[in-house]
């Protein structure tokens, strides 16, 4: 890479996680020369360690169109990345444990219907226990999305990366961004291994995206959190669906190998100076109590491992999917607030459409970076 011309690209993407890799793939499909700069290795943090949920269920109304479009892509993901990513579209439920829960879910269904969508439906007690026979007997019904499910995160990331590489995208691990230099037409991204030049710059830096924003003099009220997960020993098959709860923090699913993956976005302690996380057992205990309450047969099952991945959160829990308001030729995709996995394929497509000047029909107003555009908003959130 001593040849300077080898470092000139159409687009330079900062962040080798799922959003960066998906964007790289779509840009390559559109004929662009793309480089992805990853400070560690692809999937080191959130993209490799998330729960892999494919969920339209209970999304913020602004995200529903994106989630529905992404679901179409997941149904046929092998056509895009030559791998099925271990996708299992088994359905997701959000169970009601009280009449108050049930009313909340009824309102949700009404809201989704009013927006013109049919993917979420209310199911009664009998239907719920047919779908989830081992659930504790006190539940009253559930919100149900039949085509939702899950995939394996690191396999998915690897499939996106390999497909992008096959189309000429260059991935550089161990390339941490040190500086951004604005050129007459584009950007030069400086790393300890040299500079990379592109007409367009994409900020898909996950939990480090605010640092890229800071280099662009475009501060954002982003915070970092590390949602915890735990996995059990292998069990005989007992569960097809992904189970959540209306008024508890839970994501509960049995993987293809029989282990049970338990999430729920309880946050670990984290240390950005060392880029490490430390399990908070007081909060993880809450997860265990929730599991015990909803799946009493799990009591004596052994937890094998608990972990957490560093993710970016926005104050309104909506991502930033936006052209920069300050820096021309810069696009942001970060702040997915622990529910970005499912959106990854559509985020890549949307960014590629905007970067190549052919925006599609999906509306991005709710995700613009300008929504935080007062110094007051930033001060308040911090």
């Amino acid at each position: 890479m001593t040849n300077a011309t080898a470092k000139i690209f159409d687009t330079v993407i900062v962040g080798g996680g799922l959003m960066g890799s998906s964007t790289a793939l779509q840009l390559a499909l559109a004929g662009q020369r793309v480089v992805v700069l990853e400070k560690d290795h692809p999937g080191r943090h959130a993209s490799g360690s998330n729960a892999g949920g494919l969920r339209r269920l209970n999304r913020h109304p602004a995200e529903i169109p994106l989630a529905v479009a992404a679901a179409e892509m997941w149904r046929n993901i092998a056509a895009l990345v030559d791998s099925d990513c271990d996708v299992k579209l088994c359905g997701q439920v959000r169970v009601a444990e009280s009449t108050a829960d049930l009313e909340m879910l009824q309102k949700r269904v009404a809201l989704v219907r009013s927006l013109g969508y049919e993917h979420e439906q209310l199911i009664d007690r009998d239907q719920l226990y047919r779908l989830v026979p081992t659930l504790a007997p006190h539940c009253l019904g559930a919100l149900y999305a039949a085509g939702d499910g899950f995939a394996r995160p690191y396999h998915t990331l690897t499939a996106f990366r390999r497909k992008a590489e096959s189309l000429g995208v260059v991935f550089h691990s161990g390339h941490r961004v040190q500086a951004l230099e604005q050129l007459a037409a584009g950007w030069r991204v400086v790393t300890e291994h040299g500079g990379f030049t592109g007409r367009t710059l994409v900020n898909a830096a996950g939990a480090w995206a605010d640092r890229i924003c800071a280099l662009l003099d475009e501060p954002v009220p982003m915070t970092v959190g590390a949602p915890m997960m735990m996995v059990t020993e292998r069990l005989p098959h007992f569960l097809d669906l992904v189970v959540g709860a209306a008024s508890r923090m839970l994501s509960f699913k049995q993987m293809q190998n029989g282990t049970v993956l338990i999430g729920g976005a309880h946050l670990a302690a984290h240390d950005m100076a060392h880029e490490t996380t430390a399990i908070d057992f007081t909060k993880l205990r809450e997860s265990a109590r929730t599991v015990r309450a909803l799946f009493p047969h799990m009591k004596s099952v052994r937890i094998v491992r608990a972990w957490a991945g560093l993710e970016a959160f926005m104050p309104d829990r909506l991502p930033v999917i936006s052209e920069s308001a300050r820096a021309p030729g810069v696009f942001h995709a970060f702040g997915f607030s622990a529910h970005g996995f499912q959106l990854a394929p559509i985020i890549g497509r949307i960014l590629a459409e905007h970067i190549t000047g052919r925006p599609g029909p999906l509306r991005l107003e709710a995700f613009r970076i300008e929504r935080f555009n007062t110094t007051n908003a930033i001060a308040e959130s911090q």
Partner: protein, 466 residues
């Protein structure tokens, strides 16, 4: 449970016994935590309950532990048997499991004396029932007097092969063969260290005596063994190997329903890793060990490692390093001055230095040949997830270039053993495939709980501040 103890010592082997005893004698409030039902660790396992006849069988090394147990009892240290440790963080909060109840307790100082584990070395057929670690077999002998009834073949490296073969012969067990895999070239590597080794004490004399005893009993000892394979359908039925005598290579097959293997021991590092302590790759031990200073202090403030968990030195050195860690803890907690610590440590430092003299010689003599460290494609490396060496090589070639990426992709290291069985094999395979030193590989990140905890136990977890 006591919440006031200021020093926790984890592991009641020679290092932990010495550390807890000396710390208590110096006036520290100390609790000794051990997963076994009685103190002694692996080397002095079940010593307190062992009948006199079994102690005679096991010899003087085993008997030595009695003095350590007596000293602990009179020291005033609190002792919690049957207690496992499933978590440790950088704030020295310890997750323990005792009588089925999980609790988190914070200590001002922690000394980890977790000892060593038998080095897992994958070879074809190593996962067949009937193939067992020699150390584990010796534990059955120590704690229950159990031996392989139909006779056995003993394979691997090092003096334990000879020691256990001799113990079995005295117990009337048919030892069909002893297969020593260290190649003759190791003698050349070891030779420069011989002079210092002979100054190191009685180890070599005993090695010679054991060899003579075993040969006198008519048991063949094969040296320079390669191509070790266990065959069988659902259970081992035979062992195949090549021996390299003066007349060249000779392929052999022995019928046996028991194969006991031992490839030396490696430091147990999970707990210190969980706390974020740094490891160092030890090229002479061919594995990771904890990075420590002469007192056993790790890279994490207030957490020390003593004994084999910090690097293999054996039981006598472990006693000295346990005492040194106790002195450092007493000094950190203000019970003694740094000058007193230094004065009280002279003898232990000198004795440990003398005792460790044999190690460079032993490490070179019993160095594991590459054939065993980097198995062929078909051999299973991760038993929990049944991942082969070939899958690991393929993953590395596809760009998953460090052990943690390989773990992400293949799940090797994510099973119930948490990578204890495959971590160093994965590092060796990654380093061989990429042609980089193993020291350049990152060790697996360790995720708690390091020993399994049930949903119910976690749900009922009691916190130190509650």
């Amino acid at each position: 449970m006591s919440k006031s103890a200021r020093l926790a010592v984890i592991g009641a082997g020679p290092a932990g016994l010495s550390a807890a005893t000396l710390a208590a004698e110096l006036g520290l409030d100390v609790v000794l935590i051990d997963e076994q039902a009685s103190p002694g660790g692996q080397i002095y396992r079940a010593l307190a309950e062992a009948p006199a006849k079994r102690i005679d069988l096991l010899g003087d090394d085993y008997r030595r532990g009695r003095a350590l147990l007596r000293a602990l009892h009179t020291s005033g240290a609190e002792y919690w048997p049957d207690t496992s440790v499933w978590s440790l963080d950088q704030n020295r909060t310890l997750g323990i499991l005792r009588a089925g109840r999980a609790a988190m307790l914070q200590f001002e100082q922690v000394i980890i004396a977790g000892g060593a584990m038998e080095r897992p070395v994958p070879f074809p057929g190593w996962t067949l029932p009937g193939v067992m670690n020699l150390g584990a077999a010796q534990i059955l002998l120590k704690s229950a007097g159990v031996v392989p009834a139909g006779g056995t073949v003993i394979a691997g490296v090092g003096p334990l092969l000879l020691l256990v073969a001799r113990q079995y012969l005295r117990a009337g067990v048919a030892v069909k063969a002893v297969l020593e895999i260290s190649p003759r070239s190791n003698m050349l590597r070891a030779a420069p260290h011989l002079l210092r080794a002979t100054a190191g004490g009685s180890y070599l004399r005993r090695g010679v005596k054991y060899t003579a005893d075993i040969m006198r009993a008519g048991v063949p000892i094969h040296y320079g063994v390669s191509r070790l394979r266990a065959h069988g359908d659902r259970h081992i039925e035979s062992v195949e190997f090549a021996s390299h005598g003066w007349r060249g290579r000779c392929d052999r097959m022995l019928a046996t329903d028991s194969l006991l293997v031992h490839f030396g021991v490696t430091p147990r590092t999970s707990l210190v890793c969980a706390a974020g302590g740094r490891l160092a790759w030890d090229t002479s031990l061919q594995c990771w060990r904890t990075q420590v200073d002469q007192w056993g202090n790790t890279s994490v403030d207030g957490i020390a490692v003593a004994g084999d968990a910090a690097g293999i030195g054996g039981a006598i050195s472990a006693e000295h390093s346990g005492r040194l860690a106790a002195l450092a803890a007493a000094s950190s907690l203000g019970h003694i001055t740094a000058a007193e610590r230094d004065r009280l440590s002279h003898a232990d430092i000198a004795w440990r230095r003398k005792d460790l003299r044999i190690r460079p010689f032993l490490n070179a003599l019993y160095r594991i040949p590459p054939e065993f460290l980097v198995p062929d494609d078909a051999t299973i490396v991760c038993r929990c997830e049944e991942i082969t060496a070939g899958q690991i090589r393929a993953a590395v070639r596809e760009g998953h270039t460090d052990p943690n990426q390989v773990k992400f992709l293949l799940r090797c290291g994510m099973g119930p053993c948490q990578g204890r069985q495959c971590a160093s094999s994965v590092a060796h395979i990654v380093s061989a495939t990429r042609q980089i030193p193993a020291a350049a590989c990152a060790p697996f990140r360790v995720r708690p709980p390091i020993s399994p905890l049930s949903i119910e136990q976690l749900a009922e977890l009691s916190m130190a501040d509650e």
